[in-house]
């Protein structure tokens, strides 16, 4: 029970920091809205295929800029303090959960902005939102570990995008297929298989992160 309450308090702590630095939230919101607006002005008419592709491109780039601060915002003395209070496993699980929910909200925000400013090709909302949820899950797992690695390196902003964008590709390709089925440009026949494969990849990555993070944290 102690572990669960620790995780809960760590999530609350992240949420409080987020609330205190409201300008970060506002800037991500503005980033999404203005980018979607630019896309709609430049492309004029967007085919469903292109819609799907741009959706995930914007998702990745917003996620990079949102996740960048995930570990680098922690001052080293403060992380030492957490280290005494809790274990690294609890910290990474709390980060996973927090990042998952923030990316999910971000994904839904991008989806809403796309529907309002561009057009609405979505045929099956259930499948599409499932794709966004799985995307947020996969991307948050990879970005959490990578941002913990990048925060140890020198130039963490560049390092973060260099390290994470190629790594996130397999997960995003599966999501592209799932949301593609939600839009109706791909058939539903392979979707169960895709979801299963994606979940198994995510499970492996979560396992690997849980083993690796304590090593990284100790440095």
């Amino acid at each position: 029970m102690k572990v669960l309450s620790n995780i809960w308090y760590l999530i609350l702590k992240d949420f409080n920091i987020e609330l205190r630095q409201r300008y970060i939230l506002a800037s991500i919101f503005l980033y999404v809205i203005s980018t979607v607006f630019i896309i709609s002005k430049i492309l004029q008419t967007v085919s469903p295929m292109l819609w799907n592709a741009i959706f995930w491109i914007l998702f990745i780039f917003t996620a990079v800029s949102a996740m960048m601060k995930s570990f680098s915002q922690e001052i080293s003395q403060r992380s030492l303090y957490y280290y005494y209070l809790t274990g690294p496993i609890e910290i990474i699980i709390a980060k996973f959960i927090y990042n998952f929910f923030s990316l999910l909200l971000m994904g839904l925000l991008i989806m809403a902005a796309f529907i309002v400013f561009i057009n609405n090709p979505i045929e099956n909302y259930g499948i599409f939102v499932l794709g966004v949820i799985l995307g947020a899950l996969g991307v948050s797992v990879i970005f959490t570990l990578v941002s913990s690695i990048a925060s140890k390196g020198g130039n963490s902003a560049t390092l973060m995008s260099v390290l994470s964008i190629p790594l996130v590709l397999p997960v995003v390709l599966f999501n592209l297929r799932i949301t593609g089925a939600g839009i109706g440009i791909l058939g539903m026949t392979t979707i169960a298989n895709d979801i299963l494969l994606l979940l198994s990849i995510i499970t492996i990555l979560v396992g690997v992160s849980l083993i690796l993070f304590p090593q990284i944290w100790r440095t």
Partner: protein, 351 residues
């Protein structure tokens, strides 16, 4: 002398692969047949260009030829004449009726001679319909038989259309990717060992293996690009397998960037070992899972068969398996040199 035998073995196997791989001839084959379109009910002469057939050693009476469809409909040639160094004129007396009710039917051209063996140009001759009597077409096209076909004598690798001599690239392109994966796997094992024991030597081994593995991967991309130029007509296409391979190289390039961005030695070792393990688990679905799910030109993916059956026969395996071992051993030797170089470098830095 200790520890030198495997380096010698690697070099000897590599020499064997280069010599045997390049010198073993291609089996005979038919490259083109002209004209492609003939009409039923007429006598047509088809000129077939052959490759490596050594026609000068054959007499015209040895040569037999057929038009074949699905091995059930067979028409034997009226006469076969050797018309040049590498070309044969085959005369067919095509019956008036076709056995299947189609406007145009495709047939494969088969040539056969002792020593040379039987050679095929699949789906190469198109015959246009004239009469519409199916039953007489059936009897006309099923009365001939292939008889006893000859086998090619002597060691040679398969003749495949489009691939031709580039088939030899299998020894280099495929083996480079195989040995790259072996090197990455060993490197991951050493990264895990490092994280458990914290011995700097293990990180040194892991990073050297990744460097050599990345070099092999880039060479694999380059040999693949040359192969693609000769068979698909372009160095690079937007094919899944190609893109995934390029992305996996990017991931390992990022590993090298990560290593150079951290100054502190101990921290560098821990962080890069963790990244190496994480990256390996992403490479596996990238290269082995995703390309199999979508359409791909690359053999072995998206419904395309891999090299097997007629493409990869026992004569090719004689070179292909040693090639994998040779590249792996040479890769291990290269990383061994890197490890020793880094050790010396560290000692200099300490002074």
């Amino acid at each position: 002398m200790k520890g030198i035998w495997w380096k010698g073995l690697g070099v000897l196997l590599m020499l064997y692969v280069i010599i045997v791989g390049f010198l073993m001839p291609l089996r005979p084959g038919i490259t083109t047949a002209f004209p492609q379109n003939i009409k039923s009910g007429e006598t047509s002469v088809i000129t077939a260009s052959t490759y490596n057939a050594r026609l000068e050693t054959l007499s015209a009476s040895d040569l037999r030829a057929w038009l074949v469809r699905d091995t059930t409909y067979i028409l034997q040639a009226q006469s076969v004449k050797i018309s040049g160094d590498q070309s044969v004129d085959v005369t067919f007396d095509v019956p008036e009726n076709l056995p299947v009710d189609e406007e145009v039917l495709d047939f494969s051209l088969v040539l056969d001679a002792p020593e040379m063996g039987s050679i095929v140009l699949p789906y190469s001759i198109f015959i246009a319909k004239k009469g519409s009597d199916l039953s007489s077409g059936m009897t006309a096209w099923t009365s001939d038989s292939l008889g006893k076909l000859n086998k090619h004598k002597g060691l040679a690798i398969p003749f495949r259309n489009l691939l031709f001599e580039t088939l030899r690239n299998t020894y280099f392109h495929v083996s480079l990717w195989f040995s790259m994966f072996i090197l990455f796997l060993i490197s991951v094992i050493y990264s895990i060992k490092f994280l458990r024991k914290r011995e700097p030597y293990f990180d040194n081994v892991a990073s050297s293996l990744v460097e050599v593995g990345t070099l092999f991967g880039i060479l694999g991309l380059a040999t693949g690009a040359l192969w693609a130029k000769n068979t698909w007509g372009t160095y690079w296409t937007t094919d899944v397998k190609l893109n995934m391979a390029a992305v996996s190289m990017m991931i390992y390039a990022a590993y090298l960037v990560l290593r150079s961005s951290i100054k502190d030695g101990d921290k560098k070792a821990i962080i890069s070992s963790s990244y190496n393990i994480f990256a390996f688990f992403i490479i596996v679905p990238l290269i082995f899972v995703i390309p199999r799910l979508t359409d791909s030109l690359h053999p072995g993916n998206g419904g395309n068969p891999g090299f097997g059956g007629e493409d990869m026969d026992n004569t090719m395996r004689m070179v292909f398996y040693p090639a994998i071992i040779a590249f792996t051993l040479i890769g291990l030797w290269m990383s061994n040199l890197m490890i020793r170089y880094k050790k010396l470098r560290n000692r200099i830095d300490e002074i």
